[in-house]
Symmetry: C2
Subunit: 593 residues, 2 copies
């Protein structure tokens, strides 16, 4: 009978039927369930293991979904999903048409706020709490669960700063495990560590200074303690703050020890925890490693090079440079705004700054790109990893807006390399010194050349800014592609019968455009097709339309890319198929010309 | 001789020749100079008066421009400009081809970082300080001067959080006057007030918790005190924080008493301080007041309406609703990110949220618009004041990117009213309930109808979402305009001879487009001209290009708008002229068809 509790819990009402002493057993089963499924189906692991007890306690004490629970970031919410009517679908996690890897309003009434990007939970829950107050529902509870990496982001501070002067029924729970995806950084982290070690007084701390009722730190794996404290806090009106201490990866020894690796470990043995090695032989390099290895190599020769990442040293592979040049490579935490303006400040002093931010997260620093970098025409080098469709992380994480939102900014150079050689060369070119800021966007995943590191690495060639290239000649239709989707175009063209009709051009630069070549193309071709892995509204294809209109060309133009809707999760190939920019769809489209 | 000091100070080297006891006299002269010029030439007043002593002390103690001084926001930097080689040009402040109202790198070596938007100074100065460290220049000082409203913004916290764990030679000076443009708000403000009143211990405060060497609060108008403390701090290595207390508007009694009004008072009597009244008779209403009065009126009938502004209650005229419904209208401080996600949280609970943010400042919350509002399709109503060219505030403040950066976001409705009646009606329509978020953009300045408030106010008409209107019929050329620039088009068309050739359509909705009407137009007209007061790259005209390409139309399209460069300061009319979208330029262009 001991493993029978979880299977009878369909939703928190069932959980609340149990006696409190049964909850540790539920925790064990829930943890095992997460491990069993994630070990086979992959996904985020460590974060959810760390909050198993908290998740159970929250749904046990509070009357969810009437009480409103917001998970920050949301990759720790697997236990929440399993306890809230999604146990039986949990094996479809992150798959096309399956459940999302993050809380999502459309998926469940228990998912009160869609998340994915960090540090939104306090603002969202405060908004809900103020709304409840206005509706006269002063008994309803509003809970934001936020990690110590996320709470150090400026947006979270803005939420705390506002909440502290309201009488909103808001409970912020700090899940302090000293790590986000990589270990947390910054002065606040240092301070929280001192608090946990008893070195800072509880009665006069930062959180109390912001007018919160502070309690903790308490052990976040001790269910009775958490329940006792949550029950006490239920009776406290106004903004409250509970500091709990947890261990990321709790309950799976290897995940506790190797927290970065077990954030999202891929497949592993559910019993031993051993990661099942993927064969990396005969695979091209990941783009992130092309960036990481190249900037490291360039930094050896150019001492003005600086690397900056907001909390993604592993994901961006800036860690290589951080290990080799710790004084010149910085993880600034989840602080995209600061990262960009810090880069601008450094650039004013002649440093060559590579600011590496995932495409989707640069949205967090849009004003800083415009106001602090582009307006001052500072030659900051933005490296936008995870550009285009990112696959399983889904709608919150696709890097599909960047071409559109960057293209309207004066002074910006925008470049999407066709492959890892082009990425290496543009990194080399950028550090030679540019007259403008540049955004270099490249996708999640791997490049084209198995032997890149042996054959091409370090053989740098300077790229001429604004120059496009002809990849294939043709007679009737010109296909213009931007970035790595060009390789998909090449494969699609290889599959069709009327290949000789199609010319193919690599327009890596979306800005400035190669207008000279465009004039040639528009004079030669009556039909032009653009292909990109970003939104068609405002992106690369649109830039070609603007060129055409400006010059009164009359060629027929078709723009292919991501349609004007949010794209859900699935494999990259499935999503490209949905957008008709995979090999098969493209070859079908081409065949019809 | 007593008033002769300032005229001999060309730059800080001259200042540093003086004896310290002469500095109060310099302060008096500098303050009088600012008052004299601003009283006639207009501009920001109160902020600069408040930091006269600090400005003098900084340039006296530090070796500017070798030591690097960054002013946050920068509207307090008039004294700085006058002391750094711009006294004789100061009368050109904010005028076309004159000096900028904000520090600007291209203008002076003393302006180390261009500013305008708030809360960037700590990140920028930290970047400079780290760069100096790396270059081995460990004696150089890096100073960020930031107000208490600006330091409460998340970005400033991110800078502090990073700086606190560096050994950077950074001095952050908090200019605490308890007001930004409007009075400061939030828990941090409350805390700082308690610090000033001696109610909080200095030894264990928030700033110290973030690992800064904290000193203060000291009187920011007492030059000897400031100089003494700055000299001490020069010898302290690492991140330092000086808390000074000042009075905004210091030295002009009325400016001290009416701090909001004297932030930028327009023309006034330099002796008495009396504002010279502008005749408002026979002037149409300001768009901000149309918003403010209308939302107040609508809120009386619809209790679900909530108003939110990040630190612009006066500028947005949300103050009307804040006065009448203090529980339903919120100034959240300089916290655009929080403002948007707070709105999203409220919207999940069925509230009708008007989130009023200047167009240029919505750039600060771009990710929140995408990730927290549009992705979840929450019907938040964004009111973007100061859209288009804003005039004298210049390059940092023009609201010209919004159409381009919003148009690529799925689910968004984008509407630019033609006039105050249309603005009132779209506000009315939005609160009836929409299925999507909407961005309503309107300009700085005044509308079209002197008698709006008497004739039209409150006579609401529901607007059909996506519908465009024909303003004028014509035979050869169709002019499609978006927003209030349509009135300029009307005036331009009235001036030309071949008027009957031109049809004119008001495409207030940039998204969704009125495709039905567009089909009619494209079938009827061989030449189509679009006019907008935003960037032509990616904006309204581009949307029409995309429609045309998608439907294989072959009409000749010309897009008029703001070119792909940063536009400097000047009057709106001068800047429209520069962009060829003023009445005269448009009529010349039209005449050539």
């Amino acid at each position: 009978m001991s493993d029978n509790l979880l299977q009878h819990i369909n939703n928190p009402s069932d959980l609340r039927q149990l006696d409190e002493v049964q909850l540790p057993q539920v925790a064990k089963e829930l943890r095992d369930f997460i491990i069993d499924v994630v070990s086979v189906k992959e996904g985020h692991l460590g974060a959810s293991l760390g909050v198993v007890e908290l998740t159970i306690a929250l749904h046990y004490v509070f009357n969810t979904p009437n009480d409103l629970l917001v998970w920050d970031v949301g990759h720790q919410a697997y236990g929440h999903k399993i306890l809230t009517e999604r146990r039986e679908n949990f094996h479809t996690n992150r798959q096309l048409n399956g459940i999302s890897g993050f809380p999502k309003r459309g998926e469940s009434v228990y998912d009160t706020f869609g998340v994915g990007h960090s540090s939104t939970s306090i603002s969202a829950a405060l908004g809900m709490a103020i709304a409840s107050n206005l509706k006269g529902d002063i008994e309803k509870h509003h809970i934001a669960v936020i990690g110590d990496a996320s709470i150090a982001s400026g947006m979270a501070f803005e939420g705390l700063n506002h909440a502290g002067v309201t009488d909103a029924n808001l409970l912020v729970i700090l899940n302090d495990n000293a790590i986000g995806i990589d270990p947390s950084v910054g002065a606040l982290k240092k301070y929280l560590t001192a608090v946990k070690e008893g070195k800072n007084p509880k009665q006069n701390n930062i959180i109390k200074s912001l007018n919160f009722d502070y309690s903790g730190p308490i052990d976040g794996h001790d269910i009775p303690s958490i329940i006792k404290e949550l029950k006490r806090l239920k009776k406290v009106k106004g903004p409250k703050f509970l500091h709990i201490v947890t261990t990321k990866g709790k309950g799976l020894q290897q995940a506790e020890v190797n927290q970065v690796q077990y954030h999202a470990p891929g497949k592993f043995d559910a019993i031993t925890g051993n990661i099942i090695p993927k064969s990396e032989e005969n695979l091209p390099p990941k783009y992130q490693d092309v960036f990481g290895l190249t900037i490291l190599d360039l930094a050896k020769a150019n001492e003005k090079i600086i690397g900056i990442t907001p909390a993604m040293p592993s994901g961006s592979s800036l860690k290589f440079m951080m290990d080799a040049f710790p004084k010149r490579a910085f993880d600034v935490g989840i602080a995209e705004q600061h990262a960009v303006t810090l880069s601008a400040g450094m650039a004013t002093q002649g440093m060559v700054v590579f600011c590496n931010i995932y495409s989707t997260f640069l949205q967090r620093a849009y004003d800083q790109v415009i106001h602090d970098v582009a307006l001052q025409n500072l030659p900051v080098i933005f490296c936008l990893d995870r550009a285009g469709l990112v696959g399983e992380d889904g709608a919150t994480h696709h890097g599909v807006f960047d071409l559109a939102y960057l293209r309207c900014i004066p002074n910006m150079i925008i470049y999407s390399p066709l492959n890892e050689i082009a990425l290496q060369n543009i990194l080399y070119t950028a550090q030679l010194g540019l007259n403008h800021p540049i955004a270099i966007r490249y996708p999640r995943g791997r490049g084209q050349f198995v032997d890149w590191q042996f054959q091409q690495f370090g053989n740098y060639e300077k790229i001429e800014i604004g120059k496009a290239n002809c990849l294939k000649k043709g007679t009737k239709v010109a296909v213009l592609s931007n970035g790595t989707i060009g390789n998909t175009v090449t494969l699609a063209l290889a599959k069709i019968k009327n290949q000789e009709d199609f010319a193919h051009y690599d327009f890596a630069f979306v800005k400035p455009l190669d207008e000279k070549l465009l004039h040639t193309i528009f004079k030669e071709f009556k039909t032009i097709i653009t292909v990109e892995d970003g939104v068609i509204k405002g992106g690369f294809g649109t830039a070609i339309l603007e060129f055409s209109a400006k010059n009164n060309y009359t060629s027929i133009l078709k723009t292919l890319g991501v349609p004007d809707e949010f794209i859900e999760h699935g494999t990259v190939n499935e999503l490209q198929q949905y957008c008709s920019i995979d090999v098969k769809s493209l070859s079908t489209i081409f065949s019809n010309y």
